[in-house]
Subunit: 414 residues, 2 copies
Amino acid sequence: MQNLRGNAIVGQSGGPTAAINATLAGVIYGAMQSGCIDNIYGMKNGVDGLLCEDIIRLNGYFEDESRLEMLKKTPAAALGSCRRKLPAESDAKYAQTFDKLVDILKKYDIRYFFYIGGNDSMDTVAKLSKYTQENGYDIKVIGVPKTIDNDLIGTDHTPGFGSAAKYISVVMQEILRDTAVYTVKAVTIVEIMGRDAGWLTASSALGRVCGAPAPDLVYLPERAFDMDEFFADLKRILAEKPNVVVAVSEGLQFADGRFVGESTQGGAVDAFGHKYLAGTGKALELAVKDKLGIKVRSIELNLPQRCASHIASLCDIEESFGVGRAAVQAAEQGVSREMMVILRDNDGAGEPYSSVYGHMDIDLIANRTRFVPKHYINERGNNVTDECLKYILPLVNGESYPEYKNGLPVFFEF
Amino acid sequence: MQNLRGNAIVGQSGGPTAAINATLAGVIYGAMQSGCIDNIYGMKNGVDGLLCEDIIRLNGYFEDESRLEMLKKTPAAALGSCRRKLPAESDAKYAQTFDKLVDILKKYDIRYFFYIGGNDSMDTVAKLSKYTQENGYDIKVIGVPKTIDNDLIGTDHTPGFGSAAKYISVVMQEILRDTAVYTVKAVTIVEIMGRDAGWLTASSALGRVCGAPAPDLVYLPERAFDMDEFFADLKRILAEKPNVVVAVSEGLQFADGRFVGESTQGGAVDAFGHKYLAGTGKALELAVKDKLGIKVRSIELNLPQRCASHIASLCDIEESFGVGRAAVQAAEQGVSREMMVILRDNDGAGEPYSSVYGHMDIDLIANRTRFVPKHYINERGNNVTDECLKYILPLVNGESYPEYKNGLPVFFEF
C-alpha cells in the first residue's frame, strides 16, 4: 500500500478535560515522527476555526520535546474548543458547509484529519469522512475519543475519564475525613458530573475496594431515584453512625422521568438538545433539611472534575497520549472514518492492568451512549458493586503532577 | 526555673483544615522529645471529649516516625473536632463546667494543655487558662492557631491558610484555562470561603504576580459590593474578551449590610451567632443571567478548600508542624495563656521568605478578626493589589503530596 503524503490537521472539540491535551500531544508527536506527514496544523476552536481558516502550524512550537511534556499536563483544550454541530444531509446548508471545509483542507493540502472529542464530536468525524469519501477527496479522518463521562461505546473506557475519576475519588477521601470530625448528626450530599451515565459517580466509591472509607449511598442516573427509599436508607444509616455521605449523579431522575434537580432549574437546553442540569445535590439537601431537620450540606464538585490537572491519573495521561499517537499510525496505514478505542488487555484477574489501542467504525459509535451496566449496580440501587469498582480502579492508578514555579502550576500556552 | 513535670493533652477544635493534623503531629513530636512530659494524651472531639473523659494516649501510636509523617499529610482533624463554646463567667454553668474540667486534668496529672483551633477555640484557651490560674492549678495552657481564613490577629498568617490558598490558586489556574476554550461570551463566578475576611479570595489572583492568568474581578467582604459597578465592570471587560472570570467571597455584603447571598438562604445562625452563608456565587449568577442574558456559571469551591491534602502547601505543612512543636517548647519554658504566632523574618524584599515562631497574650487575640487591610485592595474595590499578592505568594510555596496506594491517597487513622 502506498502511503498518502501531505499535511495533517488536529482539532479539539466539546468539553475540556485534564487529558485532552495529552491526546493532542500524542497526535503532534506522532505526526512529527511520521514519514508521510509534512506539517501538522492545529485548528483553533475545532471546526469553528477551520471554517474561518483560523489555523496554526504546530511543528515550530514543539521542537523542544519538553514543551510536549508540558502540554500533556495542561488542562482544558490548548487549541480551544467549540460545540458546533455540522449540518445533516437533509439540511439546506449541508453542501455549502462541507464544500467550504474541503476547499480549505485542499488549500492546505491536508490529507490527515484528527478530531479529539466526545460523543458529539464523533458526529463531526462521521459526517466529514462520509462527505469526503463520497466526493472523492482522499483524506484520512479519524476521531480520537475524549470525555470524562466514559459514555462512548466500543472503547473499554475513554481518555479523560481516569483523571476525572481520580480527582473525584481523591477528593471523596478528603471529604469523608472532613465530614467525620464532628459527632453531631449530619448528611453530606456530593453531586458529581454525569448527565446520562453514572461512571464518575461510581468512581467516588473506589475507597471501598482499597480498605479506605467510601460514601454510604451512591445513586446513578441508570436507576430511577426513589425519594422514600432514599429516606429509609438515610434513617437506617443515621441510626448507626452520625455522619452520612451520599454521592449522586447530576442526571439523577425519578421513575417518571423528571430530573431530581429539575425543580431548581429552568428548562434550558444546549446546542445538542441536552437538558441543562444542575442542582441535584441542592434539591436533595433541601429535601433532607425539610424532612429530617438535621445538619445537611451539598457539595457540587463542579468544573474541577474535568480540569484538575494537579492530580491527574498517570494511567489516563499516558493512555491519552498513546491513543493520539496511535491515531496517526493508524491513519498512515490507511485507516479512515474510524474512532480510536482503548481495549483492556486482560480482565485484571490477578494480572496487572494493560491496554492496547484499536479503532472501529465511527458510524457505530456516534450519538450513542454507554451506560453503567445493570450488574455494576447493587440490587437496591443505592450503591455500585465491587465488580464495577474493580473495573475502574486501574484507570486511576498513578499520579500525574504538573511542574510548579513559585507555588503555581506551569501550563502550556500557545 | 524548675520545669513543670507531668502529662500533656492536645485537642483539635473548629473547622478542619489540610494542615491541622500537621500541627497535631508537631505537638506530639515535641511532647515525645520533651524532658518533662511523660505521656501525651489526645482528647477526642476537643473539649467535648475532655468533658466525658474520651481521651487516648498517643505515644504508642507514633513510635514509628513514619506514622507522624502520614499524620502530617492527612486532612481534617484526626482526633475529631467540636464547636463547643465554654460558658462565660457570668454563666450559671461556669464554675461547674470548669471544676469538672480541672478534676479530669488532675486525674490524668495533666500539666500541659495544647488546643489547636481558630478564633473560637482561642476563647476556650483564654477561659481555661484564666480559670486554672485563678484557682491555683498549675498548668500551662497554650493555643495553637489554625484557620484557613487567616483572620487571627497577632500572627503574620495562620497555619492552614497556605494550603487552602494553594488549592484555590491552583484550581483557579485550571478554571481559567477551562473557561477560555470557547469563543462565546460567558461569565464564570467562583465563590470562595471567607465569611468576614477576604484572604482566601485574594489568593485566587496569585497568577497575576507570576506571569500567569488571573481572575478579571476579585471582590472581598472588606468592601461593600455595588451591583451597578459590578455590571459596569463586567460589560467593559466583555467588550474586550469573551470569557470573564470573577472571584467572590462567600461573605460579600452590600453597603446596607445585607449579604449578597442572603436572598437564596434562610436566616440560620451557628453556635457562635455567625450567620450561615452560602449562595453568593449563585445569587450573582442569577443576576447576570437576568440582566445580561449571556452564558453564566457559578462554582462554589466548597469543602475541598479546607481539606485538599492532595495539593497542600509545603510551606504551610512545615510551618504547621513547626508551630506545634514550638508550642511544646514554649510551654516547657513556662509560657501559658498565650497563643503561638508565626512571624515573618523579613519583608521578602529580594530575600527568600523565612519565619520564626513566637507567642502572644491570648486575651489580645480571642474573638477578634484580622481583615484584609485597605492598601491590599485596589481603589475601585474590584481587585487586590500586587502588595497583597506578594504577601501571600511565599505561603503557597512548595507542594506537599500524600502517599498513594492503588491510586488513592493513604491517610492516617487512629
